[in-house]
Symmetry: C2
């Protein structure tokens, strides 16, 4: 069993919660890192806190960053989140919910935290299948980030550690992610995926993220526990 610390980027959604379970299962000591980045609501951060606590992260760093100054996305600016009746309506080009350079910013903070806690392992739940429209979810992007990160840090210069960006979900379908998570004991009822929940935090069911989540549970032959029980 490894006992090295690892940084796990945690949004409190289905993907990053599964990644936290994988990091733990692989024997890492997970340090969760979440962002308060001008989301329209705090439901997502509440879910991240629930997940970090219930899944045994040794700590949970929440850092505020202000992406709103950059505008440009339905997730951070005053642009309506698109809704669809069917998952097949999702286009393959870059969606309006894409936040400029988001994963690059998130990984950069993860790198700072990794260097501070002397970790050489960062976990991120990017997925190249369901998010093929996002440039910063592709394997070639992640490999380039890793190369850069090893040149950016003390550990890279001193040659003591080789920093790795772990992307255990990158080639998995949503159904495969859910099946894997359940086998590791993930309780998906406490996760939150919706881009546009109501004031009580209930998912809209028709944004890109809700549709992909619904399709995943359907393909896995399961009901979504978050829709039955609601967030705990």
């Amino acid at each position: 069993m490894k006992t090295q610390p690892a940084v796990v980027l945690l949004s409190g959604g289905l993907d990053s919660t599964t990644v936290l379970a994988i990091a733990k299962d692989e024997g890492y000591t997970p340090h969760a890192l979440s962002f308060d980045y001008g989301q329209r609501h705090s439901i997502e951060l509440q879910a991240a806190r629930r997940v970090a606590q219930s899944m045994g992260a040794v700590d949970h760093v929440v850092t505020a960053i202000d992406l709103r100054v950059f505008g440009g996305s339905a997730l951070t600016a005053d642009i309506a989140v698109p809704h669809h009746l069917d998952v097949n309506e999702l286009k393959q080009d870059i969606p309006i919910t894409y936040v400029p350079a988001r994963n690059t910013i998130f990984l950069s903070f993860a790198l700072a935290l990794a260097e501070t806690i002397e970790s050489s392992d960062i976990f991120i739940g990017v997925n190249a299948l369901d998010y093929s429209g996002y440039p910063d979810c592709r394997p070639e992007y992640i490999r380039a980030y890793e190369t850069m990160a090893n040149l950016a840090t003390k550990v890279g210069v001193e040659g003591k550690q080789h920093l790795r960006i772990h992307t255990p979900l990158i080639e998995l379908s949503k159904a495969q992610i859910i099946t894997l998570g359940l086998s590791l004991g993930v309780d998906y009822s406490i996760t939150h995926s919706c881009y546009d929940p109501d004031q009580q935090g209930a998912p809209c069911g028709t944004c890109d993220s809700c549709l992909l989540r619904r399709k995943g549970f359907a393909e896995a032959g399961l009901d979504d526990p978050a829709l039955i029980e609601g967030p705990g």
Copy 2:
């Protein structure tokens, strides 16, 4: 004359102020970007505002980020800034004033801003001579960042623009930077370099940054106008 927009990372110090002058001289329309990152004082941001205004940046985005949660540096945590009697005392290993992943975080926000304003040019005042102890000031780091950035963004994916990280100071001595800046009309009296100023903003004269600045003016055969006139 180019009229493309460029993002210029601006701390309000000698180096980044010179970079802003260079970007303008090369015909770019400069958008200045500064960070409120838990500095011990706001003197640095005040200098950045003065510089952006007086040197004709078309806008000045200041975004708050909280690096203090990561600790690890005399510039952000409650660790004393080291003072020296002489510049020759500066060690060549990684100094305590190094902030983990700082340039990586700064460039990532610059990338987000560049994508939002549809710019493919980012200017940063890194210097590999005076800051040889900082891993994220080396040319090989910058080239790796550029490669990653072109994979991270819409413009990279669509192949419309090739994003470039400009580092016009990377091989210059401090004296050469000052001479170049003066030839472009930079008023160094409004810049601020000190890591540890007093409450009125006067530089300490003995931190790494003050010593390198003093050495630069001495080698250029000049007096530092900030020491004569004080910040305007």
